[in-house]
Symmetry: C2
Subunit: 226 residues, 2 copies
DNA sequence: CGATGACTTGAACGCCATCAATCGCTGTGG
DNA sequence: CCACAGCGATTGATGGCGTTCAAGTCATCG
């Protein structure tokens, strides 16, 4: 079952902390569940809601006419997604595993934001974090080798998932590949190489649970210093 | 001289319009000039100022240890750059040609922004536009072929520079290549192919002035529909 | 005019993509 | 309980797009 690879439910997500002013009492929100593989919203659809992952994992992607896909970001517990400045979504968002989200009506947020400085500052902060991530990812997609990409991905997940012990990846090799701008075969080969070089270990026989043995080594690889 | 390839000085840049609330009377600003090739600020430097291009062109890039470079954006007349959410710049910015900028002290802006909702909204809008651009660029860098990348670049410049008549590119082939995540030779070959197929023409013998003959054809290429 | 820099073009290479086979795990049904 | 289908992942063989290396053109400038 895919759901067993969810982010560790024992670790408390920093929901209110991350959401900041979005958890304002005057902003109404509801919970919503999406089963693995289902679409949360589509690219170019009206952006009427803003989402926060409570449990599970979400991918945001763009699709080309012939099926080529680029995943712009993975959203894990605590992350906000679907926040747009324009009227429409710019990505398609799908639940990777069974996922629980908090859903906020955009109009509700905007009504409060009209007069509340803290809320807008919070939106600005979130948007700025998304921008910073995209900027880093442009360097990865434009200039890094496949091994550097996979190393960077592992470090990102190492940082965002449980830093202690093994990380349980919610996404499959194809998702990783489409996030890194390579093919799933190349992802697999890179993981094999990193494993053979002792930088990581596979836990169990699932290939989704990975133990990062040498984060510093991965960090060097990411920038091609080592 | 490179400066002759500046964006058309006859066309009035939308300075106040683009800057929006940043042109607030309470925010002090000064003009500053940078000659071609000089650094405006460096990656990881404190982000004490925010900039707006008055005339000229600027490139923002990240550099890897071994010299690989990824240009995240070109900034043309009217554009704001150097706006950060954190305390440090995340790109190095350099003048591509002789460039005149308006410089705003960040603290000055933040002081006003503390109480002024319109200013913050303006910052949010600018950050959101940067994010949207980065999101589109991730798809380009991750999944598009070299021909699609160059076609997309030409369309972007066609839109942002004078839409009527030829476009005068301020940047050289290497800049274009580092923006598109390919090599300058590949850029050159793609331009040659597009020229042979009648989608564009070189004006004069400079190879920097390009006439987009068939924007719709380029648009099809960009998405690989044609 | 010789030097320099930007650009183009050609030839060969290499990294990653593509195509394909296989393995292991899981769930299902006889 | 085992056969088998199905999916995810790995591994191998081959090919191609873009890189790398190199030469040559053209415009500019000392």
């Amino acid at each position: 079952m895919l759901t067993k690879f969810n982010t560790d439910p024992g670790r408390k997500p920093r929901l209110s902390g991350e959401l900041g002013a979005l958890s304002d009492a005057r902003v109404s929100s509801a919970e919503f569940r999406y089963s693995a593989g289902t679409e949360i919203f589509g690219e170019t659809e009206p952006a009427d809601y803003i989402y926060q992952v409570i449990k599970g994992a979400v991918r945001s992607h763009k699709l080309m006419a012939d099926g080529r896909r680029q995943i712009g970001a993975f959203h894990l517990a605590g992350d906000i997604f679907g926040l747009e400045n324009g009227d429409f979504h710019r990505f398609t968002a799908e639940a990777i595993v069974d996922t629980k989200t908090r859903v906020i009506r955009r109009k509700s947020l905007e009504r409060v934001a009209k007069t509340d400085l803290a809320i807008i500052r919070s939106l600005l902060k979130t948007t700025g974090e998304n921008l910073a991530h995209a900027e880093d990812h442009m360097l990865l997609l434009g200039r890094k080798t496949s091994l550097e990409r996979v190393a960077a991905f592992l470090l990102e997940m190492h940082r965002r998932l449980t830093p202690e012990g093994a990380i349980a990846l919610p996404m499959n090799r194809r998702d990783i590949a489409d996030y890194l701008g390579i093919t799933l075969e190349t992802v697999s080969r890179a993981l094999t190489e990193l494993r053979k070089n002792g930088l990581l270990k596979f836990i169990g026989q699932t290939q989704r649970e990975i133990m990062v043995v040498d984060p510093a080594g991965l960090a060097q690889l990411t920038d091609s210093l080592g």
